[in-house]
C-alpha cells in the first residue's frame, strides 16, 4: 500500500519563485491532476515528486505500507516526461534491459516483450531508437516507466506526439494504474483525464 505525500513544496530558480507551499497526499488508487499554463512549473513539480530535482523548501515522501521509503525511490516510481531523453544508439530491447538493471533489478525479457506489445513497439524491438518517430519514442518511454510495475506513475504531458491508438493505450494505462497505485498527471489538456481525486493548479502560485 503506497502513499505519496508532498508538504509545503516551494521552488525558487535563479531568484524567481516558480511556486510556493504546494501540498498533497495521495493514497492507493488516487489520482492527482496538476494544471497550469506554460511556465507555471508543472514539469518542475513532477521532477520534484520524482526526486530528480530538489525543492527549495518542503518535502516529498513515499511510504510503503506505512514505512517511509529510505533512499532511492527509483524502484517505486515510473516517469514519462518530454524532458526524459532516451539513448539514440540503443534498441528498444536494450532500453528495457537497461530499465531493470539500472534500477538494480534483474532483467526481465519476458516482461519486456509483454510491455512492448502493450505499447505497440514489439515489431520494432531490435531497431535503434535513432530510427524511431517522436510518437514511438513516447511509447517507449511508457514501456521504460511500466516494466518494473511501479506503484507510483508520474505522467507529464502524457499524450504528446501520440496518435489516436497511442492515446487509447495511455488511457488504458491510466485506468489500470488507478486500481494499482498512485497516478500523477500534469497536463494543459483537461480531456486527458476525466476523473481525479486531487488537483494542484499552479496558476498564480508564484506570489
Amino acid at each position: 500500500m503506497i502513499r505519496v505525500e508532498g508538504r509545503g513544496l516551494r521552488k525558487v530558480f535563479n531568484r524567481r519563485v516558480i511556486f510556493r507551499d504546494v501540498s498533497f497526499s495521495l493514497g492507493e488508487g488516487e489520482v492527482l491532476l496538476v494544471t497550469g499554463r506554460n511556465g507555471s512549473g508543472k514539469s518542475t513539480l513532477v521532477k520534484i515528486i520524482s526526486h530528480v530535482l530538489s525543492p527549495t523548501a518542503g518535502t516529498v515522501e513515499f511510504a510503503l505500507d506505512g514505512a517511509p521509503v529510505k533512499g532511492m525511490a527509483a524502484r517505486h516510481l515510473g516517469l514519462v516526461s518530454p524532458y526524459l531523453q532516451l539513448y539514440d544508439e540503443f534498441t528498444a530491447a536494450e532500453h528495457l534491459r537497461f530499465a531493470m538493471t539500472i534500477r538494480g533489478l534483474r532483467p526481465d525479457p519476458a516482461g519486456a516483450d509483454e510491455v512492448l506489445r502493450r505499447v505497440g513497439l514489439h515489431h520494432r524491438k531490435e531497431d535503434a531508437v535513432r530510427t524511431y518517430s517522436s510518437g514511438m519514442k513516447q511509447r517507449l518511454k511508457f514501456a521504460f516507466a511500466l516494466l518494473h510495475r511501479p506503484p507510483v506513475l508520474l505522467l507529464d504531458e502524457p499524450m504528446s506526439n501520440l496518435d489516436a491508438e497511442g492515446v487509447a493505450m495511455v488511457r488504458g494505462v491510466m485506468e489500470e494504474q488507478r486500481g494499482k497505485g498512485v497516478l500523477v498527471v500534469a497536463t494543459n489538456d483537461l480531456t486527458d483525464i476525466e476523473r481525479y481525486d486531487a488537483r494542484v493548479d499552479l496558476n498564480g502560485r508564484e506570489r
Binding site: L53, A74, Q85, F90, I102, R106, P151, G181
Partner: protein, 232 residues
C-alpha cells in the same frame, strides 16, 4: 499491488555495473572518447618526435614528456562520459533510475578501463618511436604507470562531473584538473625517472605511498561530494 518479483532485493552493484556496461556499449557504438584519445596520443607523440629530432633527451625529460602526453590525452577524453549525458539530456534518466554513488562508480570504472587502455598504447608507442626512452627497473615503471593511471582516472572523473554541469565546458577541464593532479604528476614523473635510472624498487616506495594515499583521499572525497555535484 504486487511489486515486480525482482524489486525485492535491488542491488547497488548491479545498478553501478549497468551504468558501466551502458557507457561501454555506447562508447563502442559511437566511439567518441576512444577515437579522440588515440588520435590525441598519436599527434602528441609525433610532436615529441619532431621536437626531439635525432639527439634524444635525458631520462627525466623523457619521463616528463611521457606523462605530459598521458595527462593531456586524458584531458581530451575523460570528460566525455559525463558531458554526453548532460548534452543529450540523458542525465535526468540516470538521476531518475540510479543512485548518485552507483552512477559515479559506473562512470569511474568506465574511465579506469579507458585510461588503462590508452596509457598502455601511449607507452608502447613511446617505446617504439622514442629511442632514448628506456626503462632499467621495469617493476618501478609498471607500478608507477598503474597507480598514475588510476589516480588520473579517479580525479578526472570527479572534475568531469563538475564541468559537465557548467555551461561553458571547453578548456575548463584541464584548468580545473591540472592543479589538483599536480601531486600525482610530480610523484609519477619522479618515479618514472627513478625507473629510467635503474634505481632499486625500494627507492621509489616514497612515491608509491604518496600515490596510494592520494588515490585513497580523492576516492573518499569523491564519494562524499559527488551527490552535491550530481543532484540538481
Amino acid at each position: 499491488m504486487t511489486p515486480h518479483p525482482a524489486a525485492a532485493r535491488p542491488s547497488w552493484i548491479r545498478s553501478a555495473l549497468s551504468v558501466f556496461r551502458k557507457d561501454w556499449q555506447s562508447e563502442l557504438r559511437t566511439r567518441y572518447a576512444v577515437s579522440a584519445l588515440l588520435m590525441f596520443v598519436l599527434t602528441t607523440i609525433a610532436i615529441v618526435l619532431f621536437a626531439l629530432g635525432t639527439e634524444g633527451a635525458p631520462a627525466h625529460a623523457l619521463a616528463g614528456m611521457l606523462w605530459v602526453v598521458i595527462f593531456f590525452s586524458g584531458m581530451s577524453g575523460l570528460a566525455r562520459t559525463f558531458v554526453t549525458e548532460e548534452e543529450r539530456g540523458t542525465a535526468m534518466t540516470l538521476q531518475l533510475t540510479a543512485s548518485p554513488s552507483a552512477v559515479y562508480t559506473g562512470k569511474l570504472l568506465f574511465n579506469l578501463v579507458l585510461v588503462y587502455a590508452v596509457n598502455a598504447v601511449a607507452v608502447l608507442l613511446f617505446f617504439f618511436f622514442i629511442q632514448g626512452f628506456e626503462v632499467r627497473t621495469a617493476s618501478i615503471f609498471l607500478v608507477t604507470l598503474f597507480l598514475g593511471s588510476t589516480g588520473l582516472a579517479v580525479m578526472s572523473t570527479l572534475i568531469a562531473a563538475i564541468i559537465a554541469k557548467a555551461n561553458t565546458k571547453g578548456t575548463l577541464f584541464p584548468v580545473l584538473s591540472f592543479p589538483l593532479l599536480l601531486p600525482l604528476l610530480l610523484a609519477v614523473i619522479n618515479a618514472t625517472r627513478l625507473s629510467a635510472e635503474g634505481a632499486f624498487f625500494t627507492e621509489a616506495l616514497g612515491e608509491f605511498q604518496v600515490l596510494i594515499s592520494y588515490i585513497g583521499a580523492v576516492l573518499t572525497v569523491s564519494y562524499l561530494v559527488f551527490d552535491y555535484v550530481w543532484k540538481d
